[in-house]
Amino acid sequence: MSQIKIINVAFRRCVGCRLCEQWCSYSHDGKANPAMARIKVLRDLESSGDIPMVCHQCATPLCLNKCPAGALYRDNKTGAIRLDRGACLGCGLCVEACPHGGVGVDSGGYPLICDLCDGKPQCVTHCPVGALSFLRRDLVDRVVKADVARKSGGEGY
């Protein structure tokens, strides 16, 4: 499991362009529609920040554990949480369970969860400012540490 790669969000770097939403929906549905994206950028006006919200591929996924229908499963190849739409009840418990706000809902009421684009997440590829990265779970803390160190100590960051 340690070799699994996850999407890491450096929200301080996000500028709120929402190109990630566009590429996500385009690569899944063939047309860009932010409302159908598996990643969503929330503009938090209280702190004037933009926060990309997406599945973090938790080691112990609460969404999967909460699902009463067994419709969520982990993809063995990528480690992504996948949806068996046929089994899904559309009950929304996964949406509520996610601590990252990483589960969305599509226009039919079914969950929208990041599938890591089969190992090549388009949101990461197309983020113009490096706010999203695709990292090994067991190494993710190193990038976070570097970011925090730069933010607090480095000049001109």
């Binding site: 190109l19 004037s48 933009d50």
Partner: protein, 600 residues
Amino acid sequence: MTAEGLTGRLLRVDLSTGKIAVEAIPEDVARSFLGGRGLGAYYFDREIKPGIDPLGLQNKLIFSCGPLLGTMVPGGNKVCVTFKSPLTGTYSYSLCGGHWGPELKTAGYDALVVEGVSKYPVYLFIDDESVSICPADHIWGQLIPETDSALRGEIGDPFVKVACIGPAGERLNRMACITADCYREFGRGGAGAVMGAKKLKALVIRGSRGVIVKEPGKIASISEKMVKDLKRHVTVQARHSYGTPEMVEEINYLGFWSTRNFSTGQFNDAGKLSGKAMKKEIVQGDSSCFSCPVACGKRSAINSASYGRVELEGPEFETIGLLGANCGVSQWEYIVQAAKICDSYGMDTMSSGAVVAMIMEAFEKGRISEEQLDGLRPRFGDGSVMVELLQRIGDRKGIGDLLAEGLQASAGQLGISDLAMHVKGLPLATYDPRGCKGMALTYGTSPKGAHHMVSPTMGLELAGNRFSVEGKGLLVRKTQQHMALVDSLSLCSSMRFVLNLEGQLQILEAATGLVLSEEEALRIGDRIINLERMCNVRMGFDRRHDVLPRRFLEEPLPEGLSGGQVVEMDDLLNDYYSVMGWDERGIPTPEKLKTLDLAT
């Protein structure tokens, strides 16, 4: 026109009757006017009669989207509002970036026309097909950030997009903006006052349809390439690092930066206000509009002894020009606080700054007294008085009540019209026209008064002879045509760094299937400019109103690299009118209008 790229749907809301209807936009309109600014011109011409009161029952707010709005194309986020301006009495339009325009498009509309006047404060909630007019008594009077936050809370969805007015618009301040996403404005011309007169506090949108384009794959690959090109472009890199204030140093070096109410073109403290200085002193992070990797918006904050902690997005280059150099103010705490007041009340930083600069000059020259100014003693360089004046303008308190009527009207009342730097009532932007003659013509002939983005020729002129008159008519006409197209496609003007007309037309084709030659496209640009001009002509505007204030014609810039320059207005206008096919009064000839398929 096929359905792709455009929805072909117009949402019409009558606040007097509460009637809400969806209309089809005639199919041939897109081919003649594209969308955005062009579409606004089309509807203004048909629906807004020349003699109406801009703050009365018959004015309308025409919001319009272009074919690239809300697509993956970088910079495809500029939505247009067209209206009769309460500040100038002219035709006016204003463009706004951010996320609100794309949300309108993705809710399924190319245009939104708001007409009539509500009896009590309301806001409009557009939730795809479901449109409702909701009471807004409880938020009437609130500042912009509070309004935005309250509405997102009330609807229970932090992702909805809000465009609203603040107390300035409610109090019919003629410099009032409509503000989207808290810090993106339909800034100039007083659209916020029109909205206030309609008792319309906000327009809230939630869209879920997406924008359908003809060739999604092609649009995606164009988008990918544009992002790469933008990241490589030197000017764009400067914009990304420092925002629009990256321009401060150059314009000041060249000696045509609006300084102390345009009394000179060089501000000695410019170094303190440069993009680099701003980044070092106050910038915390970057902020972007929809689909744009440039992120020229800057999130700033300052801890001020006088005002506490002040946070905002900006200030922009023009704001620094008109609240900074033009008022002689060089301390960030005052500029940031001044911009914060303008942003919170919802009033244009540029027009408001111009009013303060005029008052400062008038007071220094003894033309108005302390008594007339509620005991204030505004002098150039005094940032705290600038902030106080803006606060009173926002509150319409004391002298602020008069100044909220705008530069031209208040100058008239105070007997200082010679100190009011405007064209048709709209204060000049921060480029002193004496140092860049194409900009003089731009200010003079823009349909909405002295606005710079109608034909920003400065970049092109710096590569040639910026002081010469020769050729400027043609340069301005061409730039106006190109900008009319960019504005009608709904592209941000910064995209022109990496995208020429040929590139724009390729994207248009991929988005809509509409194939246009460059010649045909420029004809559309010409059509839009001439239609806008005719709307003004019908309202009584002509050559007499295209002339700049006497200061620019008679007082040479006193120093620096633009020293000695004045504006040769007559020569410039003669040249431009002849290039445009307009008569000597500046009125398009019937022959000219015929070639553009416009009514005479």
